[in-house]
């Protein structure tokens, strides 16, 4: 039997897998350097949590979380379709910051910094996912569905079209493709999965507050994407496990938890820097970031 701690870790890895794979779809396969992915994660979490608190069934909350994220992803892609590179990265960071400020300030809806407690654990067709082992199974199913769906998309002719837009947008336009439509579909779908991950996170922890969705939370996710290697789903999976397991070693060294959190962030950031300097393609990447 798996220990409780290990199950907890695997659930978090599952949630980060969905985040990493969905960001890989945008960054690696479509060339959209989105540094505001956490906004979609947060939108999914808050949407799902608020609906669950007023009594909606889990599956609807879960889907609504994804759809709200997807809608805002579509709007953002519409607004930003003409900018690229570092400007795009900054605008998406800005988007994340605005969403974070809304969570913090729309007191009547989100309870601001106090957060939302008492988010119910999921129940599907009368089966409650109250213990963590069953929750792990739920997360696993959704991770697998995400993986195979994104794999299917990226292997399909449409996926090749995405990569063509990434590599040479002008040439793809000349071939008569609507590159804006292609990119916004990818962006919206990426946001949809991040929203689902947010819902899973909210219903697992059963409490959310804005601090989980601040700008800097992007670093572990973007590290996963870049360390694993752009446009490589396998790399993303391996990197998620490696990056999330390595800092756990610190726990056994016996650091107090107030130091553990920032130490973990430093490790993610250092990994990212080392990869950017020494191995810009990541471990399994097929292309380099711009």
């Amino acid at each position: 039997m798996l220990s409780a701690y290990f199950i907890h870790l695997l659930i978090l890895i599952g949630i980060y897998l969905i985040l990493g794979l969905s960001l890989q779809l945008a960054v690696g396969f479509s060339g959209i350097l989105n540094l505001g992915h956490i906004a979609f994660f947060g939108l999914g979490a808050y949407t799902s949590a608020l609906l669950a608190i007023v009594g909606w069934p889990f599956l609807l909350c879960f889907l609504a979380g994804g759809l709200v994220a997807m809608g805002s992803g579509f709007v953002l892609s519409f607004l930003t379709h003409r900018i690229k590179g570092d400007y795009l990265a900054l605008v998406t960071m800005g988007f994340c910051f605005v969403i974070y400020s809304l969570m913090l300030n729309l007191d009547s809806l989100t309870r601001g910094p106090l957060g939302l407690p008492g988010i119910p654990r999921p129940e599907i067709l009368g089966f409650g996912f109250d213990n963590n082992f069953s929750y792990l199974l739920l997360v696993t199913v959704i991770v697998l569905a995400t993986y195979f769906l994104i794999k299917r998309i990226t292997d399909s002719p449409f996926g090749k079209l995405l990569e063509a837009v990434r590599d040479n947008e002008l040439a793809t336009k000349i071939l008569g493709k609507d590159t804006f439509k292609v990119k916004s579909f990818s962006f919206a779908l990426s946001a949809f999965f991040a929203g689902l991950a947010g819902s899973l996170y909210a219903h697992y922890i059963t409490f959310i507050d804005p601090s989980s969705f601040s700008l800097m939370q992007i670093i572990p996710v973007i590290s996963i994407v870049i360390v694993g290697g752009l446009a490589s789903l396998e790399g993303t999976v391996v990197a998620t496990f490696v990056l999330l397991l390595i800092p756990e070693a610190l726990r056994f060294v016996g650091f107090p938890s107030s130091i553990l959190g920032p130490m973990r962030q430093i490790i993610y950031a250092l990994f990212l820097l080392l990869i950017l300097v020494f191995r810009p393609k990541g471990f399994w990447g097929r292309i380099e970031l711009e």
Binding site: K84, G85, A89, V91, F97, S101, M216, M263
Partner: protein
């Protein structure tokens, strides 16, 4: 109606004070950007770290206040040049794109913030050197002597920077590299050395900004991100490659925020900045003063 007029002038003055601080953040940032041509997002982290250095030297170690201020200001260029040498230079050497360096600089900012958390804890700190004097009344507005000091210091420093950039040899070399790196190198200016100078000078201004901010406000581990958003927004409003534009943008931003929180809760300040940033990046990425087309 009289009340409304008084509010208006007070908002104007509050905007000016906020703008004076943002102007220092933006000036340092723009100075660096103008030569190296990438977004040094960790600039805000350098400011936060320098503020903590003041707390360390003055409040924890009990050094003489002015010595502590001197050391805190100096720690700005030390950290700035260190970051450039350790992180950005290797990336430049392998010809990394500005986008990659931006991602790296966000990672650096996170490291700096985490270090603040580890060494100084999550609670806010304050440097109570100047006890809060009573506000002085100038007609309808109230302003503290510390705030006057902040505005004057900021303006004096910006004037000095202007003179330095215009007349000193290093300033001229920096402008040459900003304008055209290749030509500057042909006439014998070392771009790498100019980059180091930019980081030193930009971060020195950051050090001064850090001291002024910590005299007026609390010091928090994540203050760097929020300051960076302000400084960066100011630069984009004014034109990212122009230090003068950054200063103009900073005062406009200070005003916009203070007008904004007339209606909105004050914690929306950062969001106001980002909405303005958004609008400028989308519709006028070259800023008010920027002439070059930088919409890549």
């Amino acid at each position: 109606m009289v009340e409304l007029g008084r509010m208006f002038y007070q908002i104007l003055v509050n905007g000016l004070i906020a703008g004076a601080i943002y102007a220092l953040v933006a000036a340092g940032f723009s100075l660096i950007y103008s030569t190296v041509k990438f977004v040094h997002f960790a600039h805000g982290g350098v400011i936060a770290l320098s503020a903590y250095m003041l707390y360390l030297f003055f409040s924890l170690w009990g050094l003489n206040f002015w010595l502590a201020v001197f050391l805190a200001i100096l720690s700005g260029p030390v950290f700035g040049v260190l970051i450039d040498t350790l992180i950005y230079r290797p990336l430049r050497r392998r010809r990394a794109s500005p986008t990659i360096i931006l991602v790296a600089s966000v990672a650096v900012l996170l490291i700096l913030e985490s270090l603040n958390l580890i060494f100084f804890g999550a609670d806010v700190k304050s440097i109570n050197f100047f006890t809060l004097g009573k506000g002085l009344s100038f007609g309808p507005v109230i302003i503290t002597s510390l705030q006057i000091f902040i505005v004057l210091t900021s303006l004096a420093l910006l004037a000095l920077l202007f003179v330095f950039m215009k007349y000193s040899k290093i300033g001229k070399a920096m402008r040459a590299v900003a304008d055209n790196k290749d030509v500057a190198e042909i006439v014998g200016i070392s771009a790498e050395r100019v980059y180091t100078w930019s980081f030193a000078l930009g971060s020195l201004i950051a050090g001064v900004a850090a001291v002024l901010i910590s005299l007026e406000q609390n010091i928090e581990p994540t203050m760097g991100t929020s300051l960076m958003i302000k400084g960066f927004t100011a630069s984009i409003i004014g034109g990212v490659e122009s230090v003068a534009g950054g200063v103009l943008g900073a005062f406009l931003l200070g005003l916009a925020e203070n007008i904004g929180i007339w209606w909105l809760p004050s914690s929306y300040k950062d969001a106001i900045a980002f909405v303005i940033l958004f609008v400028f990046l989308l519709f006028r990425p070259e800023g008010i003063l920027g002439a070059k087309k930088s919409n890549k």
